[in-house]
Symmetry: C2
Subunit: 198 residues, 2 copies
Amino acid sequence: MKSPSSLDFLTEALRRLPGIGPKSAQRMAYHLMQHDRDGAGLLGRALLQAVKRVHHCASCNTFTENELCEMCTDSERDATLLCVVETPADQLMIEQTLTYKGLYFVLMGRLSPLDGIGPKDIHLEKLIARATDGVVKEVVLATNFTNEGEATAHYISETLKARGIRVSRLARGVPVGGELEYVDAGTIARAMLDRRST
Amino acid sequence: MKSPSSLDFLTEALRRLPGIGPKSAQRMAYHLMQHDRDGAGLLGRALLQAVKRVHHCASCNTFTENELCEMCTDSERDATLLCVVETPADQLMIEQTLTYKGLYFVLMGRLSPLDGIGPKDIHLEKLIARATDGVVKEVVLATNFTNEGEATAHYISETLKARGIRVSRLARGVPVGGELEYVDAGTIARAMLDRRST
């Protein structure tokens, strides 16, 4: 017994989505064909449109449909500050804090030698060019505080400091609302070393 | 800060997939745009092609690209037997057992009054027309052994028996390899009631 080939083709294609295995792909394909053909058509058009239109901002490397993204063309932002984040989702989180008014550079990844992701894959040359444009005074590293994120921050920091650029890193410490009893020792050790006078 | 609208459109569209929430949809959209544009294009084309080409078999109601599916046009199958299943995946499971050589009718769902799914939604009229074509001698009910599946089987059984058609149901009992100590009491009770002479 064979399924119709368009359905097989769809099930195979759904497996290209991250985290979707053969069973989920089959369930999705059946669901779309049986209960949501409008949704299937909509998603199909959305995918093709996005592939055609979305590319990287020439300045900050995030996704945009124009030469420069909206934020990079916003004259209200402080162009002397450049915050380096791993993903657009991280950028969104920082924006939501309302504590940062500078510009961004989105790596679209992190250094991860085990996965074969080197400096080229995180657009380091583009970042260096951006950071040494003469306007940027300080680069704030806001990569994740995971092993890969820390390594990425360290690598970028060394590279930029060698070019005479001031580099800072988001503060590490006890989270807001954190009870010392339940915070891991590594975080407390870091908070102790980085303690600040009040 | 706004994401490019094609990306928003894609993220929204990905949420039409079953089991995909806002965070997963965003992660998928970023992944496709950053790491797998070929996959995105492939999936987009697969969706549009499937929407255009895939429809229901006129005889057994499963998905097909032709008027009749491959199995319904296979003269080697025993046309006097008709097995009723909920989904094409269930049909595939039964085929894999190699114990059934008749034809199928795929409900594409189950009766579920709480979800507003009535006899019309599971194509009951089409099934009745199919089962009373004069060739079918026995209808084997192979809906799931869940509450909805059992209710569906009961409803179909009553409807078909009223029209003088012989109806059977897959046997219930202890699974192959099952140890009585770990089998639920309901299953053992059923196996006791349905015991057979050896």
